[in-house]
């Protein structure tokens, strides 16, 4: 019973933790521009992250090796270093965007100046990371993020045409702006399959000392946590499609996202939406920051881990502190967090194959995985998604230029 309770708690935290600033931006913008037409891409993205995060978790539980160990072992020093550099650039951009998002929400809630709130936000994140145990961080931000469920209520209250919503689950293109449509499809896939999620998750599996006995839990986490997280993505896109599209609003601010809950539900909707965004984006900022530190420590073989005290893994500690400081500098420059988010997601898509190919290879290595190597199902999906990822990686940057970041 206690175990079931624990699993439920973990999954709740995963739902709240799924949505980050990339999901917010791309789901809302896609809904505002194309209504429900791109809902099917969310399904494709969620299945993809389920497939690969299950694989990463399994590799970590069986071999005790997190994702970046596998990347260096399979790609070698040189290509591995390229993968590290690109993932760190994307991590830093994402982290800076999330911090900017936190500051914007705090500004809407308090009315204080934006730059002061950036500093406050960074300091608050650093203190939370320094003093709180790992589980607490996960739980607090995960549960807080559940306030985003207000968008599910908002979506229903807005009385969307459910026939159109259902049709959105069937891939179809019904627009003259085919390139913009493709740009948002790529962005939604990238937002759902963000690699920092698997860096973070697999490192957590090693930190918590999971063994092959925990593979059931790993599967449940991936399957249920991400499906329900995808449900939140649906709610966001349907809200935007039902509200912003008919009014011709192009959401360019984080605050516009919260409007989606305020219009149908009033003040309480607005508050819940802002609190949900604050916790979801704040939690994602911590995950991203840790991912960066995990990656560099694992690549170079340093001691790492949040379960050790900061002095137990000193270079790892220095790494996350440096990342936070760099993110502070980037976002203080005044760059728009929403634009930064789009760049981060699109660049992360380009680097996706460098993360997922080594994982697929290691998950198939029987010397490594013994009887827990990929079965036919995992390999079929793994290969299909590898092809999808390659296509998307090649087309991401051209689409970004051709559509001027989705402006047409």
């Amino acid at each position: 019973m206690r175990k079931i309770f624990q699993i439920a708690l973990g999954i709740l935290a995963a739902i709240g933790g799924f949505v980050d600033i990339g999901d917010l931006v791309f789901n809302i913008e896609a809904g505002a521009q194309f209504g429900y037409q791109l809902l099917w891409v969310v399904v494709v993205g969620v299945v993809g992250i389920i497939v690969y995060s299950e694989m990463c978790g399994r590799v970590a539980a069986v071999s005790k090796r997190p994702v970046f160990d596998a990347i260096r072992e399979r790609l070698g020093f040189g290509v591995g270093l390229g993968a590290l550099a690109s993932s760190q650039v994307v991590n830093l951009m994402t982290l800076a965007a999330e911090v900017g998002g936190v500051a914007l929400v705090l500004q809407l809630l308090s009315g204080l100046p934006y730059r002061a709130l950036i500093v406050l936000g960074i300091v608050a994140l650093a203190v939370v990371i320094w003093v709180s145990p790992f589980e607490w961080i996960e739980r607090i931000f995960g549960y807080g993020g559940l306030a985003l469920l207000v968008f599910a209520v908002a979506a229903i209250k807005l009385h969307p045409n459910w026939g159109d919503v259902a049709y959105g689950l069937v891939p179809h293109v019904d627009t003259p702006d085919k390139l913009v449509y493709a740009y948002f499809a790529v962005g939604l896939l990238g937002a759902a399959m963000t690699p920092y999620e698997v860096y973070f998750y697999s490192s957590g599996v090693v930190e918590e000392g999971w063994t092959p006995k925990d593979l059931g839990l790993n599967r449940a986490n991936a399957l249920i946590g991400y499906s329900l997280g995808g449900f939140l993505s649906f709610a966001l896109m349907i809200t935007a499609g039902a509200l912003f599209l008919p009014l011709g609003i192009e959401p360019e601010f984080i605050g516009t996202v919260a409007l989606g809950a305020q219009v149908p539900l009033g003040q309480i909707g607005l508050i819940l939406a802002l609190v949900g965004i604050l916790f979801a984006v704040g939690g994602a900022a911590i995950d991203t920051c840790f991912s960066g530190a995990y990656n560099v420590a694992q690549y170079f073989g340093w001691e790492w881990g949040k379960y050790r005290r900061p002095a137990g893994a000193p270079r790892f500690t220095v790494a996350w502190v440096v990342l936070l400081v760099l993110a502070l500098l980037v976002i203080m420059s005044g760059i728009d967090p929403v634009m930064l988010t789009e760049y981060a997601v699109i660049f992360s898509v380009v680097a996706l194959p460098l993360t997922y190919l080594p994982v697929l290879l290691v998950a198939n290595d029987r010397a490594y995985m013994r009887s827990h190597a990929n079965g036919r199902l995992a390999n079929t999906f793994g290969l299909i998604y590898l092809v999808v990822i390659l296509v998307v990686a090649v087309s991401a940057i051209p689409l970004m230029f051709l559509t001027h970041q989705g402006q047409g």
Binding site: K64, G76, L81, Q298, G301, W302, E303, T317, V318, Y368
Partner: protein
């Protein structure tokens, strides 16, 4: 040391994590020192770890070795206890002079309250 099964040096050893006798992570297998190649009976003499070793690991490796300071640490093959997904060593990292970057950084991090 693994004896019963074959070990692919490129896949199963190179670039893997080094773990000392106390379970501390202390660097990676950056390169291998082989001997007996001329005699036709090659064997691994030592594991090499540290920034100068990266010079032999491609163009990016040369660049990284040029930027990052540090010494080469040579771990004789006799010190290898077991090869799993990580390479487990028989001694502590201090005895083997591994993981000194973490030791240096610890002196700074320790000063912060709560560390």
């Amino acid at each position: 040391m693994r004896q019963a099964e074959d070990l692919d040096l490129g896949l199963g050893l190179l670039d893997h994590q080094l773990v000392d006798s106390e379970g501390r992570r202390c660097g990676n297998v950056d390169d291998l020192e082989l001997e007996g190649i001329a005699e036709g009976a090659p064997r691994v003499a030592a594991i090499l770890s540290g920034p100068p070793v990266w010079r032999g690991r491609g163009r990016l490796g040369r660049l990284a070795a040029w930027i990052v300071p540090g010494d080469t640490v040579r771990v004789p093959w006799e010190e290898v206890e077991k090869i799993e997904s990580a390479v487990e060593l028989r001694k502590t990292c201090r005895e083997l002079r591994l993981g000194r970057g973490d030791d240096r950084a610890r002196r700074w991090v320790e000063r912060i309250p709560g560390a």
